[in-house]
């Protein structure tokens, strides 16, 4: 009898426990309107969710009458205030996320710009199709990614810009126009990578490709071997379709050890149907715990790096569908702290300059003991000159740095000093830096990395003479 009660209690408890975790996860998956960097809290006048095209037009019409400033927000993973303007109206695009048209034969899809890459993946996966270029994570909106020219692990399909067939833009006057390589083509290089300054991207038509089965080829190497290895074994090997690497930030192997994953076309593509169920987020407590240790201490960083390497060895030869490679886990990186935040920085360096660049970076960071660098991911971006705000000025490696920092003025200043030194160093190696992150860079650094920025701001002023669309990034750098 007693046992029965005990069993009943424990079972009911397990049920309630699961229900609570489930509800909590739903609650978490509805992000609030704040920039993910948390360093630029901005009071806005109001937040309007984009419900439909007519409503969007009305918002612009009213803003023109009331002379309000508009900013556009998707998932707000841009950390430099690109989605906000003080006392402006923030248009929240997240609910504007329908799939509008799908052409299986031509492999084309048209989506509203608030749709996330995940929304598209879920729609096209049953048809055996995949994105041509996506980011490593799929949580961002299409409009947001296009406005910042996101990039990912694919090394064969060019840039995100290449996959955009056309888009429709809601202009500062409230009209919807088609923008493509043949229609209003003069706007195309400005709207893509336009940081939301030329109007609202309403919907986008994207080129898709076939889903494929890949086998992970994982290797460990030293940074000095990497550039040659990459040119010969990765770019030079047609069967490698995607690539990602990591370089150690652990004190024992700082900026020397690397491990990489090549996603190589699997010999038996017929097995794809065994692997093409879209994966969800796995249980994250363990990686989250070790990342937590790494945040705390130098020994934690050593342990975290060893565990990452072991995991990389263990997953060698793993089979995975292209769609699943393009939806990597992100939840374990979510970070809540009262006084600290985690920011990203991204630097691009030409492949041939990688080794001297890392040598200089090592010398710079070895003196910065308080700089809490948690991770560096390395990917490849091919040269692309289709857009004005272009960062891929050559065939380059992109290094994404995850940095833990405090949120006080002093912390921001201290991190800023190091970041500016890193940007100088990157520029000295013919590199560029990525704009969607916290605006630590000086105006001079922006102009050095993006020589066409003057033209970009000028075009913006002509196209949107009342500056109906603006954001903190524009405010900071265009004056």
């Amino acid at each position: 009898m007693k046992k029965r009660y005990l069993l009943l209690f424990v079972c009911s408890y397990i049920l309630l426990f699961s229900a609570s975790i489930f509800t909590y996860n739903i609650k978490l998956s509805h992000p609030t309107a704040s920039d993910s960097g948390q360093l630029l809290p901005v009071a806005v006048k109001s937040i309007y969710p984009a419900k439909g095209e007519q409503e969007l037009k009305m918002i612009i019409k009213k803003a023109n009458i009331n002379e309000d400033t508009l900013s556009i927000a998707g998932m707000q993973h841009s950390q430099g205030g690109h989605t906000m303007y003080p006392n402006g109206i923030l248009i929240d695009m997240k609910s504007f996320n329908k799939i509008l048209k799908f052409d299986l034969q031509k492999k084309l899809i048209t989506v509203q710009s608030g749709a996330t890459w995940e929304d598209i993946q879920e729609y096209i996966n049953p048809y055996g199709l995949s994105l041509k270029v996506g980011q490593s994570q799929n949580i961002f909106t299409v409009g947001g990614s296009i406005s910042v020219i996101g990039h990912g692990r694919d090394i064969r399909n060019g840039s995100l810009t290449d996959t955009v067939i056309s888009l429709r833009l809601l202009t500062p006057e409230g009209e919807v126009i088609e923008v493509s390589r043949t229609e209003n083509e003069e706007l195309f290089p400005y709207v893509i990578g336009g940081y939301g300054l030329f109007g609202v991207i309403v919907d986008v038509t994207l080129q898709l490709t076939e889903d494929e089965l890949y086998v992970h080829n994982n290797e460990q190497l030293n940074y000095q071997e990497y550039a040659t290895y990459f040119k010969n074994e990765v770019l030079g090997n047609e069967s490698v379709k995607m690539h990602v690497g990591r370089i150690s930030v652990a004190p024992e192997t700082f900026l020397s050890e690397m491990y990489i994953t090549n996603y190589t076309l699997a010999p038996n593509q017929a097995d794809l149907d065994q692997y093409n169920t879209l994966k969800g987020e796995p249980i994250i407590a363990i990686p989250k715990f070790f990342l937590g240790l790494a945040r705390y201490s130098e020994w934690g960083k050593n342990i975290f790096w060893d565990i990452q390497k072991q995991y990389n060895e263990k997953t060698d030869q793993k089979l995975e569908s292209r769609n699943n490679v393009m939806r990597s886990d992100s939840e374990f990186m979510e970070y809540n702290s009262v006084s600290k935040t985690e920011i990203l920085q991204e630097y691009f360096v030409p492949i041939d300059n990688f080794e001297p660049y890392i040598d200089s970076l090592k010398r710079l960071l070895e003196d910065e003991k308080d700089f809490n660098l948690l991770n560096i991911t390395i990917r490849y971006v091919g040269k692309d000159d289709q857009v004005v705000m272009n960062y891929a000025t050559d065939d380059m490696f992109s290094l994404v740095l995850l940095i833990n920092q405090g949120t006080t003025k002093k912390d921001i200043e201290e991190t800023g000093q190091i970041v500016r030194k890193m940007i100088d160093l990157t520029l000295a190696h013919d590199g560029t830096y990525y704009l969607p992150y916290y605006p630590y860079a000086t105006k001079e650094q922006l102009y050095a990395a993006y020589p066409q920025v003057e033209d970009f701001f000028l075009k913006k002023k002509i196209f949107d003479s009342n500056e109906r669309f603006s954001n903190m990034f524009y405010k900071e750098y265009s004056q």
Binding site: F9, S20, Y24, K27, G292
Partner: protein, 186 residues
């Protein structure tokens, strides 16, 4: 319930409750807007507890300490599952009322169980020893929880706390007999 079981049980629940209370404030800070709401949340908690004590005291003489401990542990295990889900200050007030009642149950029953156990002549020494053990458990829990919140999220401490309460209930349900008996069995 033997004195040993009582000690184990108390150390376990004190660990769970010490995990929650100091950090619980962080949750209030996220949900509430001002210090007045803070004051109210704790005021409601203390007031509810105050009014419950007489009733719980009588109840403990009638149904025994073990049953009351069981009610306390199971209720806390379930209640903590609601904490990560709150989003308004009114929900916090509601939870505080429940926490007030349960806190009264725990505090009163802890004392009655102790009173029934110790000898009058050596009560001072015995209760002193009892408190060392309980306080050490509390201290360890508080320090470890700080790291858990930093490494995981604030919500995780409520889930871990809830699991510990669940374990404490199972411990009480599976262990029987001994010196500190239910009064009804005396």
């Amino acid at each position: 319930m033997t004195f040993r079981t009582f000690l184990y049980y108390q150390s376990t629940i004190v660990m769970a409750s010490s995990m929650i209370f100091p950090f619980y404030i962080l949750l209030l800070k996220n949900v509430g807007n001002n210090y007045a709401q803070f004051g109210w949340a704790y005021g409601i908690f203390a007031l509810t507890a105050a009014f419950c004590y007489p009733m719980i005291g009588k109840l403990s003489d009638k149904i025994g300490d073990r049953i009351l401990f069981l009610i306390y542990s199971w209720s806390m295990a379930v209640l903590l599952l609601l904490f990560p889900l709150v989003s308004t200050v009114w929900q916090i007030y509601g939870l505080q009322i429940c926490m007030g009642i349960l806190s009264a149950v725990q505090k009163n029953t802890e004392k009655t169980a102790l009173a029934r156990q110790v000898k009058k002549e050596t009560a001072g020494g015995e209760i002193g020893k009892y408190h060392i053990r309980i306080s050490v458990a509390a201290a360890i829990a508080i320090i470890l929880t700080g790291y858990i919140v930093d490494f995981l999220t604030i919500a995780s401490i409520f889930y871990i706390g809830s699991l510990i309460y669940m374990v404490s209930s199972v411990m009480l349900m599976t262990k029987r007999g001994g010196k500190v008996k239910d009064v009804t069995n005396n």
